[in-house]
């Protein structure tokens, strides 16, 4: 059984990671999302083990100490993390997993699982990024300014990824990522088993 791919979609806030991931999930039905663990309380309708694994902070921190997360972060007082066991179990079963995540998280994942496919979503320009963040209407001027400053710095991290995809148009960016996923399945490093099989036949 060939191991599945861990596809990490990352990039600055406002680059369009979320929209691209939704599009990918619709068009490539074999892709699965991983379920995160969180210390946040479940919202109306959210189900444990489906939307999130809801756990207590003490338990979360214990798991952090045991190195049980591919990555984790504290956001507005709550912890969020990607459980290694959950992801590795699916990869072993040949499932391809997609993870949408910010840059700090992606770099943590890379350290823990360098075999992943790391894709940096690049906005077409910082001006366009600003327009998109402003367009959401959710952030104050101060927050927007801070986001723009980090975006400028964060572009440096693009070189630590395997691929960089400009998100000028969502359909084109999604198409490029589809090629990347299908290409990565043929990487020599993933083919040891099949090469040995061919030899014996």
């Amino acid at each position: 059984m060939e191991e599945g791919l861990l596809v990490v979609i990352s990039g600055p806030s406002g680059a369009g990671k979320g929209t691209i991931c939704m599009q990918l999930l619709m068009e490539m039905s074999f892709l699965k999302v991983s379920v995160s663990a969180t210390t946040r309380k479940p919202r109306e309708g959210e189900k444990d083990g489906i939307d999130y694994f809801f756990i207590e902070e003490e338990e979360f921190l214990k798991r952090v100490k045991n190195n049980e997360f591919l990555e984790y972060a504290k956001v507005y007082g709550n912890y969020y993390g990607t459980p290694k066991e959950e992801v590795f179990k699916q990869l072993k079963a040949g499932k391809d997993i997609i993870l949408e995540i910010d840059i700090q998280g992606a770099l943590q994942v890379k350290k823990n699982y360098p075999m992943g496919v790391f894709i940096f979503i690049l906005p077409p320009s910082l001006t366009e990024l600003k327009n998109r963040i402003e367009g959401r209407g959710t952030d104050s001027k101060e927050v927007i300014l801070r986001r723009m400053e980090s975006a400028y710095d964060e572009l440096n991290y693009a070189f630590q990824y395997d691929y960089v995809v400009v998100n000028d148009r969502v359909d084109i960016a999604t198409e490029k990522i589809k090629h990347i996923i299908l290409a990565e399945k043929n990487r020599a490093i993933r083919k040891k088993e099949i090469i040995n099989k061919v030899r014996e036949m």
Copy 2:
């Protein structure tokens, strides 16, 4: 201007490199083949600079000494080589070049141009490889035996390539290589220019 890709299609004799390359050239019209240099005399209808660059042995060996070839080999008393200058000029101009070549040649190219995309074409089985070579009807039993022995050993080299594609059906193998070519255009290492451009806009 983004540099073109050097796509190297390689693998054991009988794996189907040639058929796949023809298919790729038909389906991806932006791909170009590089013109080799040779010391072989031109055959009826062959044109200098189009089919080959026809040169004298003295001149060829001078170029070998000057390290002017991406790879070269002596086959049945004649030299064949891929001129660096020719290939690099096209890559600089943004053209994608495809090179169909045996394993020894591909490893030479990799040494001289590690930025290339190295694809190993794998026969579905050694039995099938034997059938294909026998089916050609051009080789003696002795030659076939020798080819099979080298194929067995040559499979080890697959791990020095970037990708391994099983050629069970030509159309499927070609499709996989198309994904690889389109994916490789998004490699982070090739995106320095665009990342800096985004930052300044």
